[in-house]
Symmetry: C4
Subunit: 285 residues, 4 copies
């Protein structure tokens, strides 16, 4: 956690040629541990949630008929606030371009764009998805250190295991394609197995244990193959779990046995240790 805070301080120090109001704006918008920064985060959280709830309710036809004006009003207020925030973010930074083209910068942009586009274009459907993307802004709030640590560990565990997960996904894809092809031949098209892509879709539904039941085998042979896929899917769910679990355990134990005693070479110390657990040598770092 310490490294993270230091980096953020270093960041601010380098920007000493900013005007006072820019520093003030930064403290509010980018600050995580300051009082005003926290208040800003909470207000932002409420606006994001409100805005996403409005997008969702607007799609419910009878609610849209009834509260159309309310929804449009809230939408434009939210868009206004987001636009002000977006402009403040840009003008308060020395190098605004790196923010604009960062992932979160683009998310911020796409949070306000759809409303302005709707004035010109008429494609409500596509704009609706863009407006859903707004929910990604929620990750801004997770800057809070205790969540970031969790997110860091999650991210690292997933990153470390990406090769194994790739192999696993390719193996699963191979299985569903071959078994999907097999079921297309075995089952009659009346049961829903009208093409190989549809059969593969069914195989994915089955192997992941989702099981909609919109397509289901009707012949005894097909049901036998289906049983095999189910048992297989049930057994191999252990594989991604095992991969990620062992990564978590690994990350944890690595964080605990970091450094070597310069006197006796004993390696198995916790990071916080002040004395070697083997020879009693005092560490002076």
């Amino acid at each position: 956690m310490k490294k993270r805070i230091d980096k953020s301080l270093a960041f601010r120090e380098k920007e000493f040629n900013l005007r006072p109001w820019q520093l003030k704006v930064q403290e509010v918008i980018y600050g995580t541990y300051t009082k005003t920064g926290k208040a800003f985060d909470i207000i932002l959280l409420i606006i994001i949630l409100l805005s996403v709830v409005v997008v969702m309710l607007e799609s419910v036809s009878y609610l849209n008929l009834k509260y159309r004006l309310t929804f449009i009003t809230i939408e434009w207020i939210v868009t206004g606030l987001f636009t002000i925030e977006y402009i403040l973010r840009i003008v308060s930074l020395r190098k605004p371009l790196s923010y604009i083209f960062s992932f979160m910068g683009l998310v911020d942009l796409f949070s306000i764009l759809p409303s302005y586009l709707s004035l010109m274009v008429d494609g409500t459907a596509a704009l609706m998805i863009l407006r859903s993307i707004r929910f990604l802004r929620i990750f801004r709030i997770l800057r809070l250190s205790r969540y970031m640590l969790g997110a860091d560990i999650l991210g690292e565990a997933l990153k470390n295991s990406r090769h194994k997960i790739t192999v696993f996904l390719i193996s699963m894809l191979t299985i569903v394609i071959i078994l999907g092809g097999l079921m297309y031949v075995i089952e009659p098209s009346e049961a829903g197995f009208t093409s190989i892509p549809r059969s593969v879709y069914w195989a994915i539904i089955t192997i992941t244990t989702v099981g909609y039941g919109d397509i289901a085998p009707v012949t005894p042979l097909g049901q036998a193959v289906a049983s095999f896929i189910m048992l297989f899917g049930y057994a191999i769910i252990a594989v991604p779990t095992g991969i990620v679990s062992s990564e978590f355990t690994n990350i944890k134990s690595e964080g605990m046995k970091a450094f070597e005693c310069p006197n006796c070479g004993e390696k198995d110390h916790k990071k916080a240790a002040k004395f070697c657990r083997s020879c009693g040598y005092e560490f002076k770092d």
Copy 2:
């Protein structure tokens, strides 16, 4: 376990100015290791189960028609016993208020309230839920030490991993909202995707591998997106599992290497340590 028992003894010692009958009642009601306490627990367990079974069967219309009188009789007997128990719990304590407003105290109150309310009000439906809450009383029986230890470990593992699980749930929520919005645009409303909230509901059904099949994509593009959500949901089930698993392993291994330095009180030593990691004191055991 020792700490738990000590605390309970300390609790009783402080209450020395209680009358003998109050101590006797306490021994029966709150006692876990005494003979009478165990007998009380078993009788309580039977009454709770009987009472919940009656609540459930009462909701089956043809059984209610047939055995209405039996159900009402049992209900009032149970309510009577629970009321007596509730009064005894209160009068036998020196500070009854802290019990009354504790979680289990409120559960105890809500276990008897619905029956008395039903004499005055006529809202059977709402009262039925309140009566189901009665089942929470089952946790009283779990006071038995061997279950409490299990519950403690469960609780601690979940508590330790709450930040990671929060990040995980927010990530999942983000995914289902964005993919739900996408599916609302892709799929026709005839397939059940009539609004974004419904589409999000479908996305949750799919990503958690529940798969009712009441709403299911019909277009090839929608089925492709659905396949992606399923594979994703299947892969990321590893994440909560990995989080909790590593916590369990952690709690276990930590419980194995915890002894205290007699010099400085530092607790966090491995069993094999020869010197205190904090003050360098040499262990001579």
Copy 3:
């Protein structure tokens, strides 16, 4: 594994007052590592599988019409062989009663009983289940050491975690009963929520991520509660997994760090070690 074999030898040594033919029969029937014992196991495996396949196919009405005679013939041959085996098991033992009333002994008895009962009684349905029980005999074949070790570890892991799993199951039961009661009030009976037991049945279908779809919420509020149950079920599947995983890891690591060096006290040795890894002292066990 060594202990297991020793025990089996000790068993045979005590039975020295058995006749030679009894020892021979024992070698064939109970022997796991002898040539004849292995051959017997394989033949038994084939007969068990054949017999269970016949029970299953017999229940398919059109196959039963067509091959009725074949099925009955196979059934009686299998019953005959099982009867002979059962008698041989009894007569070759010095204390047959402990076998007869053991779990596997009762399974053996119930494997032959239904056929004889069918001559007297006419309840085909009940007898059919009894005949399915025959499949339990498959566990006889698993006597082979390498599977037994696996089964032992499985069994121990489940045994060690039984208290935690009990707490977990009671918690789940509490949740499904309360949420089932809630859904019964929220949802109309047309959606399938006709009684609390049925609603609890639905809650179990949902929380375990099975999701038949025969009962599914239709009101927005009901769907919101359902979404919560699904996410909850998806998250807490980590709990039993974490419990069992940590037990497995535990059993493994315990088997590895068994005993103490009498010279320097170093504890962290593998069972197979001949010298202390810390001071080089030679173990003379």
Copy 4:
């Protein structure tokens, strides 16, 4: 990884009596780390994917009517390229037979066979499955070291746990057969439980938490048994996960404490060991 590369070099050295063009072909086709080898892999990947996509789309009837000629053309181009590759693989090896009858060799053969067979035979259905098998060729691309390591660990974890998984699968099979038999007796055939095999199929759908809903219990007793199967299936998913997880953890930690004694060759030492656990030899590194 080093061992893998060494072996591959040794392989090539032994083939010194190959002609230059054979070595060149080998470098392209079998090379993983060479520039041309990588380019070849990427082109092969694209062709395989294209070919599988064509097989899948061809099965969609309206697409087949529209683009029939395009599909056939692509199919024959792919078959041509695969044939050339297959011949090159054979002629560039000194011992082509061991390749031809290897698993990947047969996959390569079955990738081109169906097209040629379609000229003679008329069984489109069976040929379609054979063509799906082509997707297995994707594993050729996974030769890349970083994926192979992942695949190796996956493979080893599954191999180490095969006995435990066998015991687990047999136990599950026993449960579904007995509970399937039970449900066949309990439930009316109108609910879909028309025979024991179908009931077992339903039990598999339920215990693996797939839950199609094509067959679902309708009687209260049947639903109670179903609830039990679901909770059971939900709880025991922990078992394969626990098995595989602990294997992963095991492989990892073992990979960390393996160095060899220079005196006796004993391999199984912890990193911290100062003396060989087998012969007492003192390590002086």
